[in-house]
Amino acid sequence: MLSLETNKVLESIAKMDVSAHFMEVCGTHTVSIARSGLKKLLPESIKLISGPGCPVCVTSQSDIDYAIALARQPGVIVATFGDMVRVPGTETSLLETKASGGKVEVVYSPLDSLNLAEAHPREQVVFLAVGFETTAPLIARTVQLAKAKGISNLSFLIMHKLIPPAMRQLLQMKEVKLDGFLLPGHVCAVIGSRPFLFLKEEFGLPGVVAGFEAEDILLALFMLAQQKKEGRAEIEIQYRRVVRQEGNPNALKAMEEVFEVGEAEWRGLGIIPHSGLVLRQSFSDFDARNRFSLEIKDSREYPLCGCGEVLRGVLAPQECPLFGTVCTPDSPVGPCMVSSEGSCAAAFHYERET
């Protein structure tokens, strides 16, 4: 239930009489917004649109197929966060691969892959490294630990992506009209709020770093609406209990030591330069693509799957022709319906009647 103060914030937003489209680029925000029913509580003039904030969802089909191909290799154990296992690749999923004899282990932390490698010295363990700036430092530290311990049967399929370049790409595509962004709280806990100054400088748009409770998000929306009303475009922090402008220097250092910036392929957005991470030369021994050199041919997404358009905010999940009929959380055809953070899964669970 929303508190008395929350109702007062809602009233204040309504009184401002602002018309605006705000986008969130964090899967946890998407879920929190859906679960709290915020969209219905806000005045009609304020629209919330989900962007490319779910790490599993933005992973390209060819990367998913690569992960599946790895799990089919004899002597390979694929270690992964749970959200990846049900994502349909072109022909099959990791879960189906496991059912037919492939070795797929769901882990909670990348550190678990170290233990797995040590426990299975005769097998090759590959960790599926998906995620944005929040997750990349953890993987970086795990790679450093693996190197320090001399673990030779562990490698990483790096699919890490960076959020600011995807937002710039989205704005340059001009498919959706946006008046500001809810900025991802834990990405900013790592990189700080400064990497988002381009919103103001290049596009004249405001952004507010938001926490994950419905109250946090509402307050951040209040701050965005206030900026819009006053004609300001600043990068502000609502989630001050966690986020500093400069981010977390220790986490940034680990990322910098292990990774360099490279191009990445995003579902829905295509190949974006400087939007991904690759292992530096000194850690390239840990790159699963070097260790296995598999060739993936003819990766295809499910016909009519709207996941790409949903990730760009062009299509609302409910507008996808497959939503809730052909594509459901029990039988998903695209990652946006699989991942707990996916826009389609959130809409299916919490917003279906709208």
Partner: protein
């Protein structure tokens, strides 16, 4: 999935720590918040503390509401 719930550090041994939330204990790494002390609250992501909670900012919601003249 980002968990927004801060957890309390109850034990520290080198880079490893034990945190507690709702009676459940979990082992985490402190590589990115080496300044953390027992009794501090941290945000944990996939087994690593990624941020130390600022105690003085914990009441920010209330303060911001006051700043905005939403509540007296």
């Amino acid at each position: 999935m980002c968990l927004g719930v801060p957890v309390k550090i109850v034990e520290i041994e080198g880079q490893d720590a034990l945190v507690e939330s709702g009676g459940l204990r979990q082992k985490i790494r402190l590589d990115f918040v080496p300044e953390a002390q027992i009794g501090d609250y941290v945000i944990v992501h996939a087994g690593f503390a990624i941020a130390l909670l600022e105690k003085e900012e914990a009441l920010e919601t209330l303060e911001l509401l006051k700043d905005a003249d939403v509540i007296p």
